[in-house]
């Protein structure tokens, strides 16, 4: 009997947790140390089952009168014997065993991914994660509050509603990434994804506030407005690249490229859906006067003379005259 087979112990999620090479038959399976495959499952007998060869030399697994018996595959029916023909799945107690030939392909090793880079420390301790999540939620709630102008009782309800909705959205975003991680590297890392999401939210909120102050102070500067949009996009790309780092072994360059593509697609989708929604709701789309009025003292606000402002509208006339001829 010069046959060699392998027995793999799978956990409930289907991950291989133990691999044993079997060369001598009969080979014992059970909790006792004298077995060839030693299992740590309390529902398994000390000597639960054995693998042996019949008169023709064909291998089979057979129950040794155990309490919980032997099952073929995921069947609930107890069987006495299961022939081991090629690859076979059997269950003893709560343990799934996959028994097959030595040449059964072995999947490549999964990368052991830990957060890397300069901001890795942010994801290392639960305290740091908690701080980020709370800071993100805090700034969302604060900005919703400062954006509201209803009387207090109404404002509290609407601000709470917005904060909860936002938290749900961020939680869902992190959840999607966790699922991707679970599928690709068998790690959810939910809280790490949540922390990264809220870190980005914090960044976007601060950037948005900065942007609106800049737009308020320098209304005629297109460059600053563009810079704000570019920074927002960059932040989004960074978030996606960081999250890709937790769910794959991709190189940084590749992650950034994917981040740029995903951001581009999302921007396009948002633009398309908002245009479609606008067309559906109202064929007349109103000009959004994207002007914010900020609580700054007059002395801090750079201002031009009325004449300069009026002169600046000459460009507007040129634009309109061009549009008129179209």
């Amino acid at each position: 009997m010069d046959r060699v087979i392998v027995a793999e112990v799978l956990n409930r999620r289907g991950d291989v947790v133990q691999r044993t090479r079997l060369e001598q038959f009969p080979a014992g399976i059970g909790r006792a140390w004298t077995n060839d495959v030693v299992l740590a499952d309390p529902t398994v007998d000390a000597h639960h089952a054995r693998i042996a060869a019949d008169e023709q030399g064909a291998l089979f697994i057979e129950d040794l009168g155990s309490v919980n018996g032997l099952h073929a595959g995921s069947s609930r029916e107890m069987v006495r014997r299961v022939p081991l023909d090629g690859m076979a799945m059997v269950r003893v107690g709560r343990t799934m065993l996959r028994i097959g030939a030595l040449d059964t392909p072995v999947s490549p090793a999964l990368p052991e991914l830990a957060p890397s880079g300069r901001l890795a420390w942010l994801l290392e301790t639960p305290a740091a994660i908690a701080v980020m999540v709370l800071a993100g939620m805090g700034i969302i709630t604060l900005s919703a509050w400062l954006d509201s102008y209803e009387p207090q009782s109404k404002a509290i309800a609407s601000v709470t509603g917005q904060a909860v909705a936002f938290a749900a959205l961020a939680g869902a975003w992190a959840g999607v990434w966790s699922l991707i991680g679970r599928l690709s590297v068998q790690h959810f890392r939910y809280w790490e994804h949540t922390a990264l999401t809220w870190l980005a939210v914090l960044g976007l909120a601060l950037l948005g506030a900065f942007d609106s102050y800049v737009a308020f102070l320098f209304p005629r500067s297109d460059v600053l407005g563009l810079a704000g949009a570019v920074l927002t996009g960059a932040l989004f790309v960074a978030l996606i690249a960081a999250q890709l780092g937790l769910v794959s072994a991709m190189r940084r360059r590749r992650r950034i490229v994917i981040g740029v593509i995903v951001t581009g697609v999302m921007v396009a989708l948002v633009a398309l859906t908002s245009k479609a929604a606008k067309n559906q709701l109202d064929s007349e789309s109103d000009v959004r006067i994207a002007v914010s009025l900020k609580a700054l003292p007059a002395t801090l606000i750079p201002a031009t003379s009325v004449d300069d402002f009026v002169r600046s509208t000459d460009g507007l006339k040129r634009d309109l005259d061009r549009m008129m001829k179209e």
């Binding site: 000009v287 006067i289 600046s312 509208t313």
Partner: protein, 434 residues
């Protein structure tokens, strides 16, 4: 129609394809049948027909004013034809029901008049002469209300409207949709005015006969012109009109009212009307708004959904006891972006108008002062009427913790340079206190 409150909008009395409930005048006056017998034959129905569907889109009235068969009607009855001569044509139906084609030979968009040529002579016609009459005189208005056949309506002459730049006669009588362009005459058959608009409850308006006579004189003197050149006349008339209209506005000493410590301009000319209103802070609202609104009574009809020549402005004072500075400024921003339903700027544009485009700035209130204002200047161009624009200028006072003052100046059908100088003059009429 931008920014005109409902009570100030006179419903024009041409009749659109959609029928409206029409009331017929009831009277037992003995002279009315005589007037009707003598003059109804000189009144015609005018209808504009769409070429592709072959169906009428607008009906109105008109009346013969020459032996050659010239007819006076309203510009707004034939406006589709003037703007799109390839798509529409007009016809005239006389008192015996005969239909004949007519052409538009002259228009006066500002006074809402048009002269049509029917090409066949008229046996009887009204002669247009200036006539002095006293307030209270009984007048008779003729026309085709609601496409129901010719009708006569009695009413009284109540003088000229006090607050319009261009004169309109106030006629107390029920002019109804479809009677537009018909004559309002005395017992002796002297034309006093041309039916033009109504604001309901027997308040009707006439274009004075002098304006009709002037247009007829110029039409008879001018050589015949192709139908598609009339739109250029409309353009010139509107350009001239807005020049006159705006020349003196916000110059000299403009009266002001105090709003939150700022003296804001009010009623800059006699032909403006101003209203005020406030929206107090209460349990449902954490702020108070005070409005001050002024507009002209004049407007010039361009097409079914477009009027021009309207100037209005509005000041809004915003205060709050409850909100902190940041929340107050969120409110201020929100109000500045969209104040009321009038503030609706279409960015897409339409067949006749481009979309709105805007410029924003931070501007010093006074030459060397510390008052700073946020300004937004939005405009769109008329595609068919080169040189004319609709402009909305909006300004907000900055630098106060819990006080906001916004002001909006809306001008429709103005040249760009007039709009620019109006903005300068408008800002100059404020007295910002420091």
């Amino acid at each position: 129609m931008i920014g005109l409150p409902a009570e100030a909008v006179a419903q024009r009395v041409h009749r659109n394809a959609a029928p409206e409930a029409a009331a017929t005048a009831e009277s037992e006056g003995g002279e009315t049948p005589a007037v009707f017998r003598r003059f109804a034959g000189q009144v015609v129905k005018v209808q504009v027909v769409e070429g592709r569907s072959g169906a009428k889109t607008v009906t109105g009235s008109g009346f013969f004013v020459t032996a050659q068969g010239h007819v006076i009607t309203n510009y707004h009855v034939v406006s589709d034809l003037v703007r799109k001569p390839a798509r529409y044509h007009a016809e005239l139906i006389d008192s015996i029901g005969a239909t004949r084609p007519v052409t538009v030979v002259a228009v006066d968009v500002v006074h809402d008049l048009a002269v049509l040529a029917s090409g066949s002579p008229a046996a009887n016609f009204f002669s247009l002469e200036p006539t002095q009459i006293a307030q209270g005189l009984r007048l008779y208005s003729l026309g085709h209300p609601a496409d129901l056949g010719i009708a006569i309506v009695e009413g009284t002459y109540n003088g000229r409207l006090p607050h319009t730049l261009y004169p309109r006669i106030h006629f107390t009588g029920s002019i109804n949709p479809g009677m537009s362009g018909g004559p309002t005459i005395t017992l002796a058959g002297k034309v006093i005015g041309v039916n033009v608009a109504t604001s309901g409850n027997q308040q009707s308006f006439l274009v004075p006969v002098d304006d009709a006579a002037a247009l007829l004189r110029s039409a008879l003197a001018a050589p015949p012109r192709p139908a598609d050149s009339l739109i250029a006349d409309v353009d010139h008339q509107l350009l001239r009109y807005q020049d006159t209209y705006l020349a003196k506005l916000f110059t000299g000493d403009v009266p002001t009212v105090d709003l939150g410590g700022v003296k804001v301009p009010t009623r800059p000319a006699a032909y403006f009307n101003c209203w005020g209103d406030s929206d107090p802070e209460d349990q449902d609202q954490a702020y108070e708004v005070v409005h001050h609104y002024c507009s002209t009574d004049d407007d010039v009809f361009l097409s079914g959904d477009e009027s021009t020549g309207i100037i209005d402005f509005q000041h809004d004072l915003l205060t709050s006891e409850v909100l902190n500075t940041f929340r107050f400024h969120s409110l201020y921003t929100h109000q500045f972006r969209s104040l009321g339903a009038d503030w609706e700027l279409d960015s897409e544009g339409a067949e006749d108008l481009t979309g709105y485009r805007c410029r924003t700035g931070n501007v010093r209130g006074q030459a060397a002062g510390r008052v700073v204002l946020k300004t937004v200047f939005c405009a769109r161009a008329y595609r068919q009427l080169p040189g004319l624009y609709d402009v909305v200028f909006r300004v907000a006072l900055l630098g106060h913790r819990k006080l906001g003052l916004m002001s909006t100046l809306t001008m429709s059908g103005v040249t760009f340079s007039n709009a620019q100088s109006m903005v300068r003059r408008y800002l100059g009429a404020f007295r910002w206190t420091e």
